[in-house]
């Protein structure tokens, strides 16, 4: 990681320079795009961070953990990551708000935080993606697509827990 990212950046800039591109002005253009993206997700982040925080403060997650405890013990996981697995396929901003909340309540290097990090890094907002791509074409019958996509997500969540256990605990 410490090696990979700087190498990636150095290689990219050098390659562009060799290709006679105006590297720095391209970079600045990209930053402008990034700023636009940031501003466009700001309202939903603000709303969802508040929502997740309110659920937390109301004791909802504690209640949920209490009732999910037997199930979680069965699979040897913590209940903190269950809401993450549910919210992740629906909303990117929502899952990031939740991730931030898990970091704050259990510590950034806890088992739950690492699992949630891997979950959010390894999967996509499945339902949103399906809606965008099938919305662009006239297709209304998606056949086996939904079931395959959701199964792949579930598979990825299970692997996230297993790999974190394998590499960190």
């Amino acid at each position: 990681m410490n090696f990979f990212v700087p190498l990636f950046i150095a290689f990219t800039v050098l390659y562009a320079l060799i290709k006679k591109e105006n590297v720095f002005s391209l970079f600045c253009d990209g930053v402008k795009d990034g700023l636009k993206t940031t501003i466009s997700i700001f309202p939903s982040i603000l709303g969802l961070v508040t929502g997740v925080g309110m659920l937390k403060a109301s004791g909802f997650f504690d209640l949920l953990s209490k009732y999910l405890l037997p199930v979680c013990n069965l699979f040897d996981i913590t209940a903190d990551i269950i809401p993450m697995a549910i919210l992740r396929p629906f909303s990117g901003s929502g899952s990031f708000s939740l991730l931030n909340n898990i970091f704050e309540s259990t510590g950034v290097n806890s088992f739950a935080s690492l699992c949630a990090s891997v979950m959010s890094g390894a999967t996509e907002t499945t339902f949103y993606t399906l809606a965008v791509y099938y919305g662009a074409t006239g297709v209304t019958k998606t056949r086996h697509n939904l079931i395959c996509s959701v199964s792949a997500d579930v598979f990825s969540f299970i692997l996230a827990v297993l790999t974190v256990k394998l590499f960190y605990f």
Binding site: M1, K19, E21, V23, F96, K141, R143
Partner: protein, 206 residues
Amino acid sequence: MHKHTVFIIFFIGDTMLNYIWVFMMVVSFICAIFTGNMENLSQAVSKEAMNGVNLIITLASGMCFWSGILKIMEKSGLTYKFSLLLSPLINIIFHDIKNKKTKSLINMNITSNILGLGNAATPFGIKAMQALDKENGFKNTSSNSMCRFVLLNTASIQLIPTTLITLRTLKNGICDSRLLYCIWISSFSACIFGIILCFICERFKK
């Protein structure tokens, strides 16, 4: 069963967040009545809105910086170079697609996703879907290759999950290669699993 699948998807995609958010507000109020956390809850409103602002500022740095780097990759043709590496794999997964242009659109979409160019991936993806739909013999029904293509997008692999890494680094969390391995193993295996599932479904459901 599949007749209404897409309507469910639209319902979920567009208005689900609507319900999720209302759920959060209403359920936290009801919960607080029972648990006696009303004071905490009312304080949380202002505190958490502040947290939202903090989170967006935390994310902004990484998002802007990486958008800059990715713009350089896109314009210098490095993204295209990366896409050449992928083409053998694309040829296997989309063996039934003969049209070269469709294949290259698919390739650019997947490559952009892997590199984390979300904004570039979507336009390529939509064009690829429309091209695949043209080759599709059935109206209103997705073809086998369309299912495989959308699956590659819903179970997409990202080489460096930049936003996640920014957040973890700024919170002083562990952010080493082990984390990347976990993410790569999970997302790559899920992708393979999904594709195999697609091929199996194609066999059994005509």
